[in-house]
Symmetry: C2
Subunit: 204 residues, 2 copies
DNA sequence: GGCCTTATGTGATATTCGTCACTTAAAATC
DNA sequence: GATTTTAAGTGACGAATATCACATAAGGCC
């Protein structure tokens, strides 16, 4: 099933993925990995999107990044190897197909396929940079800027200027409260930056 | 020079580090790597401490983590490979000795020494988890809690209950202002959690 | 079409934090 | 020991955000 999804790996490895990987389909909203869960496998996204977020003790959430087709949740990689528990939560944003790779297989491929190593390194690095972005945002940006940024991210993810979401959801992803988001969105509507309707925000 | 510093690598690689690595000494406060600089080598800390932080456009700073002996600044690893520029700043907290590894050597070792791969993976993972911690802190904790946490971290780093620092420095590391830090510290002193004097904070 | 659920709008108010404008104090230098 | 530099203390104020308490509206469902 995997093809030009992951260009950086070689053919032999690609066919190993085919035979050893275990296909799984997730519904929208289905939780792939919850915090503190044991990590048993490494998922590679075939289609759809995973949303990765962090929660604090009080249950407040914060979006970290999206995992798109051809990518993987790297935390699983090393974590799986060392019987670590997950520090993050991963939820399907839309119907999503993933290929589960056992930690044993991955471990073996590290020895056999240099391109597997490259792939993992690439993902680690990418996620690392994304995390740095998140740090920058929450440390230095005001919530209205963060909302704009999030809306743009969501729009580029789907390719639509219309974003199907609720204010509550945005608030959760930014770790703030619904009222704050509603107020700021209303303000942006006044500034003709967006148009609001129930369950939908349109970028202008 | 390297010895039981990095237990996870094997002897052959250890001697390669000896011969190929280039020793460098940094003074306190000396900048090893600034943001947007080209990455030419991977540093391994032999003694001392590197402080890694992020800056925003306005020049505000934020401490990300400390790099201790036997560890490395992983951003360099992949970044060096792909001629990336640095997203972070690294400064010596105290007189620090580092071993510089060229990206070419590292690249070769990836093929020759499995333990080098393990080492890099381990560091990536560790740094990743630390970054997640930072995200949690700035997203969910109030500044007084973050100050306490920082003081404890500094104390455990040196092994002393007396921390040599200024309020300004703490403010910088947390990305806030000096006045805020002074006020909150004063409050903690009232609560008998710490004792204050010029250039020094003592944990009680 | 009426009812119910869920989403959104909004005022009032409290906290937390950032900023400005100083003062005071400690240490460093001469 | 007087002077200068640097660190710390503090009041006043403003901005950003959080929280509470509702009112209103939009869609789904019977």
């Amino acid at each position: 099933i995997p093809k030009q999804l992951i260009p950086q790996i070689d053919e032999a490895l690609r066919s190993e993925l085919q035979t050893k990987g275990h296909l799984k389909k997730l519904e929208t909203g289905e939780v792939m990995l919850r915090e503190n869960a044991n990590i048993k496998a490494i998922p590679i996204i075939l289609s759809g999107t995973l949303k990765v977020s962090r929660e604090d003790q009080a249950g407040k959430e914060l979006l970290l990044y999206y995992v798109k087709p051809g990518e993987s949740c790297v935390m699983s990689f090393f974590g799986g190897l060392h019987h670590d528990t997950s520090k993050i939560k991963a939820v399907a944003e839309e119907p999503t197909e993933i290929l589960l790779i056992s930690t044993e297989d991955s471990n073996e491929w590290v020895k056999k396929y240099p391109s597997w190593i490259d792939f993992i390194f690439y993902l680690y690095h990418k996620r690392f940079e994304e995390l740095l972005e998140v740090v920058n945002e929450i440390a230095f940006q005001k919530i209205d800027e963060r909302i704009i940024h999030l809306l743009n991210k969501k729009a580029s993810l789907t390719g639509h200027k219309e974003i199907i979401t609720t204010h509550q959801q945005i608030a959760d992803e930014l770790g703030t409260s619904r009222e704050v988001v509603s107020r700021l969105l209303k303000q942006m509507e006044g500034d003709k930056k967006i148009a609001l309707s129930r369950n939908k925000i349109t970028l202008l």
